[in-house]
Symmetry: C2
Subunit: 355 residues, 2 copies
């Protein structure tokens, strides 16, 4: 899912997102709550109407941004007090107010309000944080069921969906417990949160692998905030169905491009007279039309078109990777996908979960 | 002609430019000479190949940027010494080196190297500057004829064209003399330079009107560096065939949008919940898909998509204006165009020149 923090995937028009085949995009409740504000978005027809995106949207709960952008946040049983990163003003998020905000934003899939446990954290702290997230999950569900909206552009009667989030830090036993107790509360989909918080990538992989097996295979399993192209293939092989990450868009803004032949840092002087396409195997509009020399020039001259074209390519590469993953899953035995799956020791699990 | 300073119309992909119906774009020799350098562009297939734009391109001579970006420039008979606005390094442009640069960039239409006379300037200074431009025009033509290139994407044998530039400051007699003597040198097209240099708009209009009548109606007449949508219609009515201006693209970056109902400063709070399209009469992709509220949000949040969408609309509005002008000219008696033409007291001249 491309990340559209402020109701825009940075630099990319909705026309282009459709061309790229994006099926669902993500909006960040924390950012949208501050700008332009939930009430404005609600009055403009929710995120779908406001940004003219008549396709699925998912919003996060705001919990992760409160965690990552606010060193001075205060967490209590009721909720979290935090300061805006824009103007320092004081705000409060609770499970109920996060639901209110997300219901107002009108996304198809919204997320339970959770506490993202910091890393490292000791057992006591991780346990307490997990318990708080479980209590907040129950409050989120209760409030959501009373207030959820129909999604206006879908069939009559179709409503928003609320997903639960599994926490438990890097403790595999707590992850199992969190998964089981979140399933007890009951949601139509489950996310694995609290990762990509500074831990080594090998540990992320270990926690995902240990957690995903406790989540029902017949409901969407969403891994939040990952990863590289290689990683998203590995996670898909483990049984993950949905992922979001700023990596393709943020890396594009820094001139870091993902290709079938590895990463390319387009700012390098070596590309200044390179007439070849960025990725000879890529069917995207950028690789079909422009040279590395041109992309390098745009980046070096700090031209806005650099961000636009780099983002188009990276998103295309990510979405294409996931298309190939889906195809491999539907074929059941694609050598390419199995190679990746075997590399992560999950070929058996993949086949068990997916076929 | 949309301005593509550094081989990019800021924020707009070449696909989009084609969608907008841009027939010809402009590149700035001064900027391209500094970044990425003429030799790089030449080796990458000229501007057409480098930026993947298989349609007409015009480059200016570099003279205007040397004038406007370099307070410390030194003008001598041979040429101009100036400092790069990027790193302060010293450079030299002469008629011959400007031709070399422009021939290397490979545009379809290139411009004689001229001195843009500052405003205000007394009669002596204006006369001397005009005489220098005339001598430089002759040198430009001589060098060009010996070195001009075939334009690779055109029919075999088609070469670049060199246009002359009329100077003479705000002195109508000198403008007439400059026009006549530039015509004596002989070019396939003529530009009016030295305007938009800080003079009042009424004076610009007066000088254009006095100058254009001395230029042959059977060759392209190009007014450099103007103007607002209203002005370009008026200048077309006076007989001007080509114009370039950064106004639509630069104004877009500052949230200033041209519409059929007047200018809109999209940053204003009054638009924050305005669900209507930017311009209800505009067929562009932006007006067909997005609301003023969304455009206002993107601008207020400093999102790159604001620049992209604003530029698409403004360019569409300008190009659409010129399409309507062409249509009116071909119909010969369109009331709308004649109204504008009459407002500038040029209906007769328009009909004389154009029909």
């Amino acid at each position: 899912m491309p990340v559209g923090t402020l109701a825009t995937v940075k630099g990319i028009s909705q026309d282009l997102l459709e061309d790229l085949g994006a099926q669902i995009i993500l909006g960040n409740t924390y950012h949208l709550y501050l700008r332009p504000g939930v009430e404005t978005v609600r009055q403009m027809g929710g995120l779908h109407g406001f940004m003219s995106w008549p396709h699925p949207i998912l919003t996060d709960s705001g919990g992760f941004q409160v965690f990552s952008l606010n060193e001075l946040r205060k967490v209590k049983e009721e909720g979290v007090t935090f300061r805006s990163h824009l103007d320092g003003s004081s705000h409060f998020f609770s499970p109920e107010s996060s639901m209110d905000a997300q219901i107002g934003l009108g996304a198809d899939i919204i997320m339970a309000f959770d506490e993202c446990t910091e890393h490292p954290a000791d057992h006591r702290r991780t346990l307490d944080s997990m318990e708080l997230t479980l209590r907040w999950a129950a409050r989120s569900k209760k409030y959501f069921e009373q207030h959820k909206l129909e999604v206006p552009w879908k069939l009559p009667g179709a409503t928003q969906s609320l997903f639960g989030i599994v926490q438990g830090g890097m403790d595999l036993a707590l992850r199992k417990e969190s998964a089981e107790r979140t399933i007890e509360i009951g949601f139509p989909g489950y996310a694995i949160g609290g990762l990509s918080v500074g831990e080594p990538r090998e540990l992320t992989r270990e926690v995902v692998e240990a957690t995903v097996q406790h989540l029902p295979a017949d409901k969407p399993r969403y891994l939040m905030g990952v990863g590289t192209p290689e990683e998203i293939v590995q996670y898909a092989a483990m049984g993950i169905d949905m992922m979001d990450c700023v990596m393709p868009t943020r890396a594009a803004r820094h001139g870091l491009l993902f290709t079938s032949e590895g990463k390319v840092s387009i700012k390098q002087t070596r590309y200044s007279k390179d007439e070849s396409p960025l990725d000879p195997n890529c069917p995207c509009k950028v690789c079909q039309r422009y040279s590395r020399a041109y992309l390098r020039h745009l980046y070096a001259a700090n031209e806005v078109l650099a961000q636009v074209l780099n983002t188009v390519h990276n998103l295309s590469f990510y979405l294409d990777t996931m298309r190939r993953v889906r195809q491999s899953i539907s074929l059941g035995d694609s050598p390419q996908f199995l190679t990746v799956a075997k590399a992560s020791n999950n070929a058996d699990q993949l086949l068990r979960n997916k076929s």
